[in-house]
Every structure is written in structure tokens, then in C-alpha cells.
Amino acid sequence: MTAGVAVERVSRDIAHAMAAFALGLALLMAFLLLAGFDVGGALAALWRGAFGSWYAFTSATLVRATPLLLLGLAFTIGGRAGALNIGMEGQFAAGAIAAVAIGVHGAGTPAAIELPLVLAGGLVAGAAWIAIPVILRARFEITEVISTLLLNFVASAMVSYAVTGPLQEASRIYPQSAPLVSGARLPHLGTGSRLHLGFPIALAIAAALALVLNHTRWGFRLRAVGAGGRAAHIVGGINTTRVIAVALLWSGALAGLGGAVEVSGVSFALYQNLSPGYGFTAIAVALLGRMRPALVVVAAIMFGALEAGAGAMQRDAAIPAVGIEVVEAVVIVAALILAWRRPR
């Protein structure tokens, strides 16, 4: 592929992503108009919340983009191997539980020791949570789609149990955990900013994933399996079951890390409904980013802006933030249809 073709492809991908995104937003606004909401106020609040100021951009948009990026990359790893991890919401919760279980202990421990433990806890818990679907797929040929999906509900019940049982705060009044000790918290980037170290970590992981996918043998195998499992097995002698299992485990691990980063960088405690559906939004992020890490970064920031704007919309224009799910759905469908029309 020549450089000119590559540039043309990337610019077309970005144009497609923008078009899909704009379509979703336009449909939401049309719906709000029909339902009798104040559309002008909604758009103004959306913009103000996402890009209205440097503070809004870094402390709202980029903070929201961080879990979306980690989960979007998680979906990408599985997706490039042809496996759909619909259970990121559950792995995110598992990662958050583990991170909090570790991070409420060890007051006075330096962050250099505590923080890696907390983040590693999230990684391991996420991988452990997806291990069940991975085994079901490898041993019984059960599609990971339904099994990961069902485990989301189990994880949600586990959080509910944790915050009213073993991890509940000391006074036992509120359904939430004790706050993380200071060493377990991700440092903020700059005083007065809510943006934390999690964002650059997520960017570094995106870069690493791009490298692995495009320049290593494992990445090549992964893409070969995703492009055509039987061919990869017959011609390339690739153990497809194994490649998919490893890809899904990494996918779960990254989603678990997403949960750990969220509690360690933003909420500092565990509570019910920690994720406003990040696990599903991230599917839209990954598809909009055409499951290529660099584009996934762009898509995550776009959706981070949308989520941040939705928060402002709910506060200022009294429009429920759940409406954003409509935009996500439209973006997913538009991305699918554009992908199908594009000659591969």
C-alpha cells in the first residue's frame, strides 16, 4: 500500500466516523424535538459540557473518554480475532471490586507500591471474570456473546452484595465502600484538574496494542483468525481456539483495568451503577474506530465528549442522559452499514 492510498483510507475512515456520529446526534435531536424537549437548550448544554472550556474538555470529556478508551481497546482485541466480548460491563465491575478490595487497605503505603497492586488487581479480576465464557467457548463451543452478556447481570449483583456486605463502609449506612487510601489513587494531572494518570496510561496501551496487532507474530495470528478462522487453521496451521481464548482473556483484562482505573482515578470508592453503561458505549467506540487503536482513541474522545455533554444536558436542560444511548445505537448501525459497503 502506498502512502497516498493509506492517507486516503484514513481520511475516509475519519469522514465516515464523523458522518455516523453526526447522524446519531441528528436523530437524537429530531426525537427530542418530537417528544417536546427544548432542543436548542439541549445542544447548547451538550457543547458547554463537552468543549465549553479547557476545564470541561480535560476534566469532563477526557475523564469520560478514559474508561471508554480502555474498554474500546478491550473490545478491539477480541473483535480483531472475531470474538465479541459483550460482557465488558461485567469485567469492568469485577475489576472495580478487586481494585477497591485492595485499595482500601494499606494506608500510608507509598503509591509506587500500592497503585501497581490496585491496577494489577483490576487486570486479573477482569481476566478471571471472562475466564468462564472463555472456557465455555473453548470446551463446549458456546458463543461468548450470550455467556459474557449473562455474566454482566451476575457482576452487577456482586457489586450490590459487596457494597452492602463485605466491602461496605465502616458506618454501614451507605451502600458504598470505604474510600481508597491515598496511595491507591491515580495522581491528577495538574492542580485543579480532574484528569488523572489513567488517560495517558490508556493512550500508551493504545499505542502498544497498535504495535502488537500490526508488527508481531501474535498480532498477525490474531488478525488471521479474525479474517477467516478455518483458513487460518488449515493454511496457517494456527490453533484458532487458543488464539481466540488468549484474545478474550486480554480483552477481559483490559476491561477489568478500566474498572480499576475508574475507581482509582475518579470515584475513589465502589458503589452500585459505577458505570453508566461504559461497557456498551465502548462497543460503539470500537466499531466507530474500525477496531484500529489510533482511530479508537479518536472515537473514545468523541464519545467522552458526548457523555460529558449528556451530563450537562441532564443538569441544565433536564433531558435524561439515557437519551445518549440512542446516539450510540445509531452510530453502531451506521458504522456497520458503512463497513459493509466498503470494499475490504
Binding site: 426525537f31 427530542l32 417528544a35 417536546g36 424537549f37 465479541l84 459483550i86 468462564i132 465455555l136 463446549f140 463451543e141 458456546i142 456473546v145 450470550i146 455467556s147 452478556l149 449473562l150 455474566l151 454482566n152 447481570f153 451476575v154 449483583a157 456482586m158 450490590s160 452484595y161 456486605g165 456498551f280 462497543i283 460503539a284 466499531l287 433531558i319 435524561p320 439515557v322 437519551g323 445518549i324 444511548e325 440512542v326 446516539v327 450510540e328 445505537a329 445509531v330 453502531i332 448501525v333 456497520l336 452499514i337 459493509w340
Partner: protein, 303 residues
């Protein structure tokens, strides 16, 4: 377990199983045509919302009709995207469920404000079937139920006839087992698939209506809580045929109803354990059921 408790447990099982069997039969018809519809969760949710609105303004019948229509609309949107648009069925289905979640959430706030629905929704009363309801234990369990449960009983033979005795059913199964071969024999695969998906949506809408009008008695955001996805597992456990699906739904109904038993007995086991029982059961049965029978050969294939 004494008789009164057994009846209470059995009645609760059937009540929980009713929306599941309706949704799962609909999903089975769609899957038999080769389309797996994860939008069924969204269809149920839309059906539940529309039923709540319809029943508030026009009574029970209006609620059932509105719920059914909503299910049909959602399924048609999914069918148009997945069958005509030839997109990945799984992801399109997820997108449709997401959209339904967002739209019903927005509309619910619009209609009822933050207070939510509830107070004003009429619910279906149990109707005792003469003679049958007097059979000890079994009678009151199966034959002292709301009308929509009897409709669900009726759907079982009806769906069996549709799938295995009608010309349309033959085309549905042909489109599911081998879409290319079916097309070569003159079956309009896309049209058959869309029709099957829409029939499935009708059932999902009914399921949502039954959830609101006969089980819960109110609408809340995301109230279906994965019942549509459980229905997909039930389809696999019931081996894609209506009688099997009915039995499987009953198993899930019973699994959910155990929490009432234990609540009555007053144990110290955390309630979340009972909450997750149906989901874990769904996982376990898929491990057993899908292995022996993989379902329609062309399931999930675009055509």
C-alpha cells in the same frame, strides 16, 4: 413443603415464566429462519413501556395491543438493519436494544416525570378456569392465572403448527438451515426472515406487556433486566421447539420463584444470590443444551 406454599411457589413460577415463554417462542421462530435477534430485549422493553402507557390511558386491552405493536416496530427495525442491511446480527441486535433502552428511558421521564409509573396502571386479575382450577395443587397453579398466561399456553401449539405444519414454517426452516439452497428453490429468504423476525417481535411485545400488566404492575427503566437474553438461552435449552421451550421457561420461572420461598422461610442468605440464579442457570444449561443440538445450521449467517 405444605400445600399452600407449593401452590404459591407454583403460581409464582408460572407468572415469571409467562413473559419468558412468550419471548422465547418468538425468538425461536426468528432463529429457525436463521436470524438471532438480541434486539428481543429491546422489543420486550418497548412492549413493556407501550403497555404501561396504553393501559394507563385505555385500559388493559389497549395496553396489550400497544405493547404488541411496539414489539413489532422494534423487530421490524432490527429486521431491516440485519436482513436488508446485511449487517452482523449480534451487533445490530445489541444496537437495537441500546436504542430501545434510551428511547424508553427518555419517554418514561417525559410521560411520568421522575416519579415513575405505577399507581395508575390497571393489572390483570387471575381468572379461574371452571372445573380445571379445582384440581388439587395443579389446578390453582396452572388454571388460576391472568388471561395472558392462557394466551401463552395457546401460543405453544400455535407456534408448533406454524413451524412444522404450515407452508410458511417450511420456508422459515429452509431459510434457517440453508439459506442459499432455499433461495435456489425459490424461497424469498429475506422476506421470510423479516416476517419471522416480526412475528418474534409480536411475541416479545406481548411478553413485555405481560411483564407489566400481569407480573410487576409498573414500568421502570430497564425493567426487563436481561429477560430477553435469558429467553435466548431458553430457546437453546428448548432445542428450538415450542414444547421444549415451554418446559425450559418453567424451569427458569421456578429458579426465580425460589427467592420467594426463601424469603418466606427467612434465611440469612444474601438476596443477591437468588437474583443471579436465573443467569447462572442460563449459563449452565447452555453448556449442556447447545452441545447436543447446535440449532439451525444457517443461524447468524447473512444472506
Amino acid at each position: 413443603m405444605n400445600a399452600a406454599l407449593a401452590v404459591a411457589f407454583g403460581t409464582a413460577s408460572i407468572r415469571v415464566a409467562t413473559p419468558l415463554v412468550l419471548a422465547a417462542i418468538g425468538e425461536a421462530i426468528a432463529e429457525r429462519s436463521g436470524v438471532i435477534n438480541l434486539g428481543i430485549e429491546g422489543g420486550m422493553l418497548a412492549g413493556a413501556f407501550a403497555a404501561a402507557v396504553g393501559a394507563t390511558h385505555g385500559g388493559l386491552m389497549a395496553g396489550v395491543v400497544a405493547g404488541t405493536l411496539a414489539g413489532i416496530v422494534v423487530a421490524f427495525v432490527f429486521g431491516a438493519i440485519a436482513v436488508w442491511g446485511r449487517t452482523d446480527q449480534i451487533i445490530s441486535g445489541m444496537a437495537v436494544t441500546l436504542a430501545a433502552t434510551g428511547l424508553t428511558g427518555l419517554l418514561a421521564r417525559r410521560v411520568w416525570g421522575v416519579a415513575g409509573a405505577g399507581l395508575s396502571i390497571p393489572t390483570m386479575k387471575a381468572i379461574a378456569v371452571p372445573a380445571l382450577a379445582t384440581i388439587p395443587i395443579v389446578g390453582p397453579i396452572f388454571f388460576n392465572q391472568p388471561a395472558i398466561t392462557y394466551l401463552a399456553y395457546l401460543m405453544i401449539p400455535l407456534a408448533g403448527w406454524l413451524l412444522f405444519r404450515s407452508r410458511f414454517g417450511l420456508e422459515v426452516r429452509a431459510s434457517g438451515e440453508g439459506p442459499a439452497a432455499a433461495a435456489a428453490c425459490g424461497v424469498a429468504v429475506a422476506r421470510v426472515r423479516i416476517t419471522a423476525v416480526v412475528i418474534g417481535g409480536l411475541c416479545a411485545g406481548l411478553a413485555g406487556a405481560s411483564l407489566v400488566l400481569a407480573e410487576v404492575g409498573t414500568f421502570s427503566e430497564q425493567m426487563t433486566a436481561g429477560r430477553g437474553f435469558i429467553a435466548i438461552a431458553i430457546v437453546a435449552l428448548g432445542r428450538w421447539n415450542p414444547v421444549g421451550i415451554a418446559v425450559a421457561s418453567l424451569v427458569f420461572g421456578a429458579a426465580t420463584a425460589t427467592q420467594y420461598l426463601f424469603q418466606a422461610a427467612g434465611t440469612s442468605v444474601p438476596y443477591q444470590l437468588f437474583l443471579v440464579l436465573p443467569y447462572l442457570l442460563a449459563l449452565a444449561v447452555m453448556a449442556i443444551a447447545t452441545r447436543r443440538h447446535g440449532g439451525p445450521a444457517g443461524l447468524g449467517q447473512t444472506h
